[in-house]
């Protein structure tokens, strides 16, 4: 899944001269936490330049009696006095797991998405979390199986082959942990009879740790 799949395309951007108090009002009204700051360029036909970003936390601390409040900045000042100028951006084609990692290491909550110098969207930590939830398959009705397989080429393919034998569709596969010898996969499979599938896998010699082994009914 890519950034372009999850980003917000209707970005509310502001100019560097916008007074901070207007930004505060806009954040409240629109319920937005991050504003990219765009400056128009002299040359016609050129896209506006991204010159900064400001977050709700930066803005809220202005004028507050707080050790981290920016010094010498007042609500009447232009937002350019406050904005972060080194903007960490994403590209629409970036994979979301890489984007999530960047947000964590840079400790930021949102990234403007730039394509050939033009602002095309914004992606937030919430968007990424939603995307990861979707990737883990929990939005589609499914049973969850925890399966331990040998850590060698082809082991997952063999496992999925057994699932396919039962005409069961795989909704998602997650790797939870592994050591040198084994890998544990969490399979979400589109069947209400997860126990039936687990029984079938166990009979084929697969180590299934969830659901528990249960004697079949009549």
């Amino acid at each position: 899944m890519l950034v372009s799949d999850v980003m917000t395309r209707q970005v509310v951007a502001i100019g560097p001269d916008t007074p901070i108090r207007d930004v505060q009002a806009l954040m409240e009204q629109r319920n937005i936490r991050h504003f990219p700051i765009l400056e128009s360029r002299a040359a016609p036909g050129q896209p506006d330049a991204l010159v900064g970003i400001v977050s709700d936390r930066d803005v809220r601390l202005v004028g507050a009696d707080h050790p981290r409040a920016p010094k010498g900045v007042r609500a009447a000042d232009a937002v350019s006095k406050l904005m972060v100028r080194q903007v960490v951006t994403a590209h629409p084609g970036d994979p979301i797991e890489e984007t999530a990692k960047t947000m964590r290491t840079r400790k930021i909550g949102a990234m403007p998405v730039m394509d050939e110098g033009r602002l095309v969207g914004i992606v937030t930590a919430t968007d990424l979390l939603d995307a990861l939830v979707t990737m883990s398959g929990v939005r589609q009705a499914a049973s969850r199986l925890e399966v331990e397989v040998p850590n060698r080429p082809g082991a997952l393919a063999e496992l999925l082959g057994l699932v396919a034998d039962r005409r069961v569709n795989v909704v998602s596969v997650l790797t939870t942990r592994g050591d040198d010898e084994t890998v544990t996969f969490v399979l979400r499979v589109a069947t209400a009879d997860g126990h039936g599938l687990a029984r079938y896998l166990r009979e084929a010699g697969v180590n299934v740790s969830w659901p528990p082994d249960k004697r079949a009914g009549p």
């Binding site: 009705a141 969850r144 069961v168 589109a190 209400a192 039936g196 659901p211 009914g217």
Partner: protein, 391 residues
């Protein structure tokens, strides 16, 4: 029409079909429950009511038109759509294979539950059971978890739109009642309450406490996920902590209960550890709540239940007994056991009660976890209800 205040809606045809050979969902359960109740003297043959037919229009009050057309086409070999087309709608899968006359038969299931609701809504019966019903996983345009059409949703839609009733739906199947929940997620006149094995462990993987309804329906979806190995006492405690408060707050005109029988410890598809005692607690409470809140009006359907021969008929016999205020004898009638045991190839139980399983070593942990989930659920709901008072 029903002879007294209680109606047992039944169509023998709905007990005869099979989704596929060896499929875990066994329609014969309805016939087993009916014959068991008759043999035990707890059902009067005059109380057995045939469903009134419904049309595809009725299905379309809940289901997508295209989906109904696909199910219909899939029901005869000559018109069967391609597998990819069917699979887009959850059909031609291990759970929902296509079978001859599928559309007609499952529409018959819907008709049975609609009939039960109509009887109760119009006062021709005080309470009614539709044990073939309970297909709570079916979605607007998709079959899921053995369910093709959502009889509960069609019947509830009709209770709201045609009869003008506020409906409280209570689901005690081991699986989350996802289809009914999503179909009424924005609907303020329908409260959905589901108790189920947590979606963290069991199909369909939803039914978490944070699913509370949306828009005008905010606060009208309630989910109590139970830990695997939950036993009778912890289930009863969880039920009592959640269901009465939610229903009293909502003040329904009608209760529709989905009484899937797969919370039982012998059920091969789920991981809860109830016995019939815990399940009976729910049936009795539902009747009490109906007497308290809806002038007695209650419609009860079947649902899951995959220990189909030994457990489900007795569970549903208890459900009917609660609904109609009947006693059951201690012993299962020998004639019934002798009639069905050999045909089904199983030794049927001799008593209506059963023995609890070995207590789980995690019993106290399970109970304490359920208790804490219920407490947090109710605190969260109280907060939502204060913000958005139920209309």
């Amino acid at each position: 029409m029903s002879a007294g205040p209680y109606a047992f809606v039944f169509d023998p045809e709905l007990a005869r079909f099979q989704l596929a050979p060896d499929h875990p969902f066994k329609p014969v359960r309805y016939e087993l429950a009916r014959t068991l109740l008759l043999a035990a003297g707890a059902l009067d043959p005059a109380e057995v009511v045939a469903p009134a037919a419904i049309g595809d229009d009725d299905l379309r009050t809940v289901h997508d038109e295209r989906y109904v057309a696909v199910v219909r086409a899939a029901s005869a070999p000559a018109t069967r759509p391609s597998d990819p087309e069917l699979q887009r709608h959850g059909l031609a899968t291990a759970d929902n294979p296509v079978f001859d006359r599928m559309h007609e038969l499952v529409r018959g299931v819907v008709a049975a539950t609609v009939t039960a609701v109509d009887l109760v809504a119009t006062g021709r019966a005080l309470r009614a059971a539709s044990l073939a019903g309970g297909l709570h996983h079916a979605l607007r345009d998709r079959a899921s978890g053995f369910c093709v059409y959502n009889d509960l949703a069609v019947a509830i839609r009709r209770a709201v739109d045609r009869h003008g009733l506020r409906v409280a739906y209570v689901d005690v199947d081991a699986h989350h009642g996802d289809g009914v929940q999503w179909l009424f997620y924005d609907e303020p006149r329908v409260l959905t309450v589901s108790l189920h094995e947590s979606g963290r462990y069991l199909f369909p993987g939803t039914g978490f406490t944070y699913e509370t309804g949306n828009g005008a329906g905010r606060g009208t979806a309630v989910n109590m996920p139970l830990e695997p190995f939950t036993d009778d006492d912890s289930f009863a405690e969880s039920f009592d902590a959640v269901v009465p408060r939610a229903l009293r707050r909502f003040a329904p005109d009608l209760i529709v209960a989905q009484a899937g029988a797969d919370m039982h410890h012998r059920d091969p598809l789920a991981d809860l550890a109830l016995t019939l005692r815990g399940m009976r607690h729910a049936y009795a409470r539902l009747v009490e709540l109906a007497d308290e809140l809806t002038g007695g009006r209650l419609v009860l359907t079947g649902g899951g239940g995959y220990d189909a021969y030994r457990t489900v008929p007795r569970a549903w016999a208890w459900a009917w007994a609660a609904l109609a205020g009947r006693e059951l004898p201690a012993a299962v009638p020998p004639a019934w056991r002798e009639e069905w045991g050999p045909r089904l190839g199983v030794e049927l139980p001799a008593r209506f009660d059963d023995e609890p399983p070995e207590p789980s070593p995690r019993r106290d942990q399970v109970a304490s976890r359920n208790r804490s989930v219920a407490e947090r659920l109710m605190a969260q709901l109280e907060e939502i209800w204060q913000e958005a008072p139920v209309a």
